[in-house]
């Protein structure tokens, strides 16, 4: 027969073990959410990045929030009903999970701004490698500048499908311009114009 002290010691060991395992998982999700918010605001303050709402971002943040909630619920018995993080405190102060989910959704909406480089930034880097500086400056930069202008115009009007369609059209235009530039360059090397 185990004494009461033995049982308590065992329980403490189990509790420490679980808390040790759960804490990093909770902090990962917390940092992910907090970090994404900080990184978003930092990058948005720079000019060559932009933020936009995306459903995928919203879903990802929502999933993170739900994971955090679940982890907190699991952590409650092992932490003597005093979880250390924001969600844990909410769980303790308000019992109804629906409130938590609402909070999670709100948080998800705040952190759903995805930060991206403007379209064509990567392609411009590639053209720097394959084409002369003059061709990049006179052909590809104006093309990508107009692409970005048209893309952002569509985003401002909240026409996301149009923005995607603009990108598709410009990817095609970019490919054509690449081919044509190489073709023209070939004839130039032959001395023909």
């Amino acid at each position: 027969m185990h004494s009461f002290n033995d049982l308590e010691n065992r329980w403490n060991r189990v509790r420490d073990h679980v808390v040790k395992r759960l804490d990093p998982a909770i902090s990962v999700f917390e940092n992910k959410l907090r970090g994404s918010e900080e990184v978003t605001s930092l990058l948005l303050s720079q000019n060559d990045w932009y933020g936009r709402d995306r459903n995928s971002g919203r879903v990802a943040s929502f999933v993170s929030c739900i994971c955090l909630l679940v982890l907190n619920v699991v952590a409650i018995p092992f932490k003597g009903y005093a979880p250390h993080n924001i969600f844990g405190r909410f769980l303790v102060t308000s019992v109804i999970p629906r409130t938590q989910i609402k909070q999670a959704v709100e948080w998800a909406e705040i952190t759903s701004a995805r930060i991206k480089k403007p379209p064509g930034s990567l392609l411009l880097g590639i053209t720097d490698f394959f084409f002369s500086k003059k061709t990049v400056a006179l052909t590809f930069k104006p093309l990508i500048a107009d692409w970005q202008a048209e893309y952002f115009e569509a985003l401002e009007e909240k026409r996301y499908c149009k923005a995607r369609w603009v990108s598709v059209r410009y990817y095609w235009a970019f490919a054509k311009a690449c081919g044509l530039s190489k073709f023209v360059g070939f004839f130039k090397t032959l001395g023909l114009k």
Partner: protein, 112 residues
């Protein structure tokens, strides 16, 4: 005898661009505006390569748009027609009308 300076040759696409720009020679236009005003005669894929070629022929000149405040994205390029461009376009139109006259004369001769 004073020889006329040789004007650069202009293709149909280039002539379309020049005609768009000549609608208001004082106006500077973006590539996208030229595209919109060409009424579907120009395509995105060929426009910018053609504009570069025209700039090399000196029928066009371009500069980066001035920006008063920092904005996202690369600054756009604005194009305007040069005097040489206007002359080249006039020559193109003249040649074009002469050719179409010749073709119509040829067609009537063939019909009779």
């Amino acid at each position: 005898m004073v020889r006329k300076p040789k004007l650069p040759s202009v293709s149909q696409k280039e002539a379309t661009i020049l005609s768009v720009l000549l609608a208001d020679p004082s106006r500077e236009m973006y590539g996208l505006q030229i595209l919109d005003e060409s009424q579907g005669l120009l395509k995105r894929g060929t426009l910018y390569v053609t504009l570069q070629r025209m700039e090399e022929k000196k029928v066009l000149e371009s500069k980066q748009e001035p920006r008063s405040r920092p904005e996202v994205g690369i600054p756009r390029r604005v194009y305007s027609i040069t005097g040489l461009g206007a002359l080249a376009f006039a020559q193109y139109k003249e040649t074009h009308s002469r050719l179409s006259d010749l073709i119509s004369v040829g067609a009537t001769v063939a019909a009779s």
